[in-house]
Amino acid sequence: MPRKTMIEAIRDAMDVSMGKDDNVVVFGEDVGYFGGVFRCTQGLQQKYGVTRCFDAPISELGIVGAAIGMAAYGLRPCVEVQFADYVYPAYDQIVSEAARIRYRSNGEFTCPMVIRMPTGGGIFGGQTHSQSPEALFTHVSGLKVVVPSNPHDAKGLLIASIEDPDPVIFLEPKRLYNGPFDGHHERPVTPWSKHPLGEVPDGHYSTPLGKAEIRRQGADVTILAYGTMVYVAEAAAEETGIDAEIIDLRTLLPLDLDAIVASVKKTGRCVVVHEATLTSGFGAELAALVQQHCFYELEAPIARVTGWDTPYPHAQEWDYFPGPARVGQALRETMEA
C-alpha cells in the first residue's frame, strides 16, 4: 500500500472529496496558488480551478463566516486556519453561529463544514505557533472535534468530517506531519514512510467520527491520549516497562466513552495526557468522566500530564512539552499509588 506523510494524506483526503463532490470547496490564507504554508492544499487549485480552491484575505472571521454562508447555500467548505493559535478571531462565528444554526433554525439551515488547523508544539514556534485549543471547542454544543494521530486516520477522518452534516473542528498535530514524534527531540524522527500507519489506501474511505482506537494493549494502566501524545505515551510505556493500554481518542467530541470505560475498568488505573495547559483542559473532562463511570474500579487517582499553565514559551520548549520522562513519572506514581 502507498505510504504517505500526514500532509500528503490530508491533501489526498481533500482531493478525493473535491473529486467526488463539486460542493466541496477549499480556501484559506495562502492555500490557493501556493498550496498552504504546510503545503496541505498543494496542487488542488491547479486541479480544481481557482473557484474551488483559493486564497482568502487574512481574516479568520471572514473565512469561517463566509464558509458558514456557503454551507447554508449547500456547499461543503473545508477551510484552513493557518495555525490553531489564530482561530480566535473566528471564535464567535464558530461558537455563536456554526455550532447553533441547525438547532436554532430547527434544521431549516445547517452548517456542514470543516475547519482545519495545525495544532500543538514541538517546532520552536513560540506562543503563537504551538497552542492546543481543543478544550475551547469541546465545551461548545453543536461542534465535533477531531484530532488524528497518523496519516491513515488523518485521511479517513478528514473525509468523514467533510461528509459530516455538522461543523467539525479538525486539529492537525503539526509535529506529526512528517513522522511519529515521541517527544525525544534529541533523536531523529522516523518518517511515515517507515511506519505502518503511514500506509494510506488510495481513493475514498472514511474513518468514523466518535470511535477511539487502542494503540497498545495493556493490563496495568490506561493512558488516554490523542495527537502527538499517543507516541509520547508509547515511548513512556516502553521506557518504564509498564504494561499500559494506550487509547488514541481520535475524536474528542463526541467522545468514545465506552472504549474508555471498558479499558479503565480492566486496568483500574488511568493517566490522561495532552499538550494543552492543565486547568480546564480536555483532560479535566476525561478525568471527571472516568471517576464517575469507573469509581469502584479505580485503584489510584487519575493523573493528568499536560502542558503547564503558562503561555507556550519559546526557549523553554522542552521544559514545557509533556515528554516521555514526565509521562513515565506519572505512570510510575500511578502504579505505586
Partner: protein, 410 residues
C-alpha cells in the same frame, strides 16, 4: 508645533437629550427627484457622491418624481401599502401580547416598515436574506404565514423552531429568510459567503445582508466588505440607519464619517443612501442594486435613512435617553402615511378605503393571533416538549446527549 497644548478626548453627543427640543435642521434632506440615477454598470468611482446624498422619490405633495420613480405598478403600490399596514398591525398586536405576558420579548418596526417591505419586492424566488430582528417585512411582504410567526413568538406547540429561539428570531429557507442570530452582524459576512457560493456554482441567485447602524461597528461588517470587494460577490449589503442603537445615537458608530454609506467607498463598493421612509425610493434602489448583483457586477452597499419610532425592544424605554417628541420631528415622515398620500394623490386610494383596509387587516391579524394562541402561548397551553430541547443539536443525537436526555427523564 505647540507642544504645550494638551490632548482631550472627543465623545460624540446627540443634538438633544430628554428635556431638549428635537432639531433635525442639521440633517440635509435633498429634494425628491434631485439625485441622478446612474447605469447599474457604472464605475463605482463615478458615483461616490451618492454615498453622501439621499435618494428620494416621493415629494411633499405626495408625487413620485425624478429618475428613480416608476419602478412599481399601481397594484404593486397598493399591495405595498397593505404590507406595511399589516406589519404595523402585527407589531401592535404582538407588543400587546408581550405586555399581557403571552411571551417574553418582542421587537417592532414602527417607522421602518418601508425598508424591508419595499426591498422584498426586488427579490426573486431562491434569493436569500440574512436579516436582523427588524426586517419582518421581508416575511410579511413575502407571504409567509403570520400564524407561523406568532407560533414562533409564543414558543407554542406549533412553533416551527420548537421553542428553542427567542421571539422574532424567525427562520425560513423557503421564504429566503436566514435564521436570525441574536449576535449582531454575524450574518453580514455569511450573506457574502452565500453569495460567493451562488457564484461558485454559476447559479443566478443573490444574497442580501442586513445590519443596523449601531451594528456596523462590529468586526463582521469589515469582513463582509473585504470579502464582497475582493470576490465581487453578488450581494446587496443593507445598513438600516434608524438613528439609534439601543440608547446610543448613530454618531457613536458613525464617528467622523459623514454617513454609513461612505464605509463602502474605501472598498470600491458602490454606496447609495436612500430615504428609508419612502417606499418607492427604497424599491427603486433595491432594484438597481439587485440588478447589479444579478448581472455579476458585484456588491452594493445601501444605507436606508430612517427612524426607530418605537422602543428598541419591549425591554427598553427610550424616554430615558431621547426626547419623546423626537420621532414627530423626524423630517422624513411616516412611510405608511407617505405611501397612502401618494396613492390618494394618484387617485388610487381614499381615506375610506384606508379605514376599510385597516379594519380588514386588523381582522386578519386578530384571527391569526386567535389561531396561534389556540396552540398555546409561552406560559399557557400547548408548548414544545423537553425532548425538543435535546433534538437538533446534531443531525444525529450523540451518545452523551442521549444519556443526558434519559437522565432528564424525557
Amino acid at each position: 508645533m505647540p507642544l504645550e497644548k494638551v490632548l482631550s478626548l472627543h465623545v460624540p453627543e446627540p443634538e438633544v437629550r430628554p428635556g431638549g427640543t428635537p432639531d433635525f435642521s442639521n440633517v440635509p434632506i435633498p429634494k425628491a427627484g434631485s439625485v441622478p440615477r446612474p447605469e447599474v454598470d457604472v464605475d463605482p468611482r463615478e458615483i461616490r457622491d451618492l454615498a453622501y446624498s439621499i435618494i428620494r422619490v416621493l415629494n411633499r405633495e405626495g408625487e413620485a418624481v425624478g429618475p428613480w420613480a416608476g419602478t412599481l405598478t399601481d397594484e404593486e403600490l397598493s399591495e405595498g401599502l397593505r404590507h406595511m399596514m399589516t406589519l404595523r398591525a402585527f407589531d401592535a398586536r404582538m407588543q400587546m401580547a408581550q405586555r399581557q405576558g403571552k411571551t417574553s420579548f418582542y421587537m417592532q418596526h414602527m417607522g421602518e416598515e418601508a425598508v424591508s417591505c419595499a426591498f422584498r419586492r426586488a427579490l426573486l424566488p431562491g434569493d436569500m436574506n440574512f436579516p436582523t430582528y427588524r426586517q419582518a417585512g421581508l416575511l410579511i411582504a413575502g407571504g409567509y404565514p403570520m400564524v407561523e410567526m406568532m407560533n414562533q413568538i409564543y414558543s407554542n406547540e406549533r412553533d416551527p423552531l420548537k421553542g428553542r429561539q427567542l421571539p422574532v428570531m424567525y427562520a425560513s429557507k423557503e421564504h429566503g429568510f436566514f435564521s436570525i442570530s441574536g449576535n449582531l452582524t454575524t450574518q453580514y459576512i455569511q450573506a457574502v459567503g452565500w453569495a460567493m457560493a451562488s457564484a461558485i456554482r454559476n447559479d443566478t441567485k443573490i444574497a442580501v445582508g442586513w445590519v443596523g447602524d449601531g451594528a456596523t461597528a462590529e468586526s463582521d461588517f469589515h469582513a463582509a466588505l473585504v470579502f464582497a470587494s475582493t470576490y465581487k460577490a453578488p450581494v446587496v449589503l443593507n445598513i438600516v440607519n434608524n438613528q439609534w442603537a439601543i440608547s446610543t445615537f448613530q454618531g457613536i458608530a458613525r464617528g467622523g464619517s459623514g454617513t454609513f454609506a461612505a464605509r463602502g467607498l474605501g472598498f470600491g463598493i458602490p454606496a447609495l443612501r436612500v430615504d428609508g421612509n419612502d417606499y418607492l425610493a427604497v424599491h427603486a434602489v433595491a432594484k438597481w442594486a439587485t440588478e447589479r448583483a444579478r448581472r455579476n457586477l458585484g456588491p452594493t452597499l445601501i444605507e436606508h435613512v430612517t427612524y426607530r419610532v418605537g422602543a428598541h425592544s419591549t425591554s427598553d424605554d427610550p424616554s430615558a435617553y431621547r426626547p419623546k417628541e423626537e420621532s414627530a420631528a423626524w423630517p422624513l415622515g411616516d412611510p405608511v402615511l407617505r405611501l397612502k398620500n401618494h396613492l390618494i394623490v394618484r387617485g388610487l386610494w381614499s381615506e375610506e378605503r384606508h379605514k376599510q383596509a385597516e379594519a380588514e387587516i386588523l381582522d386578519t391579524v386578530i384571527s391569526a393571533q386567535k389561531e396561534a394562541e389556540s396552540h398555546g402561548t409561552l406560559h399557557a397551553g400547548g408548548k414544545p416538549s423537553a425532548r425538543d430541547m435535546f433534538e437538533g443539536v446534531y443531525a444525529e443525537m450523540p451518545p452523551h446527549l442521549r444519556r443526558q436526555r434519559q437522565q432528564a427523564g424525557v
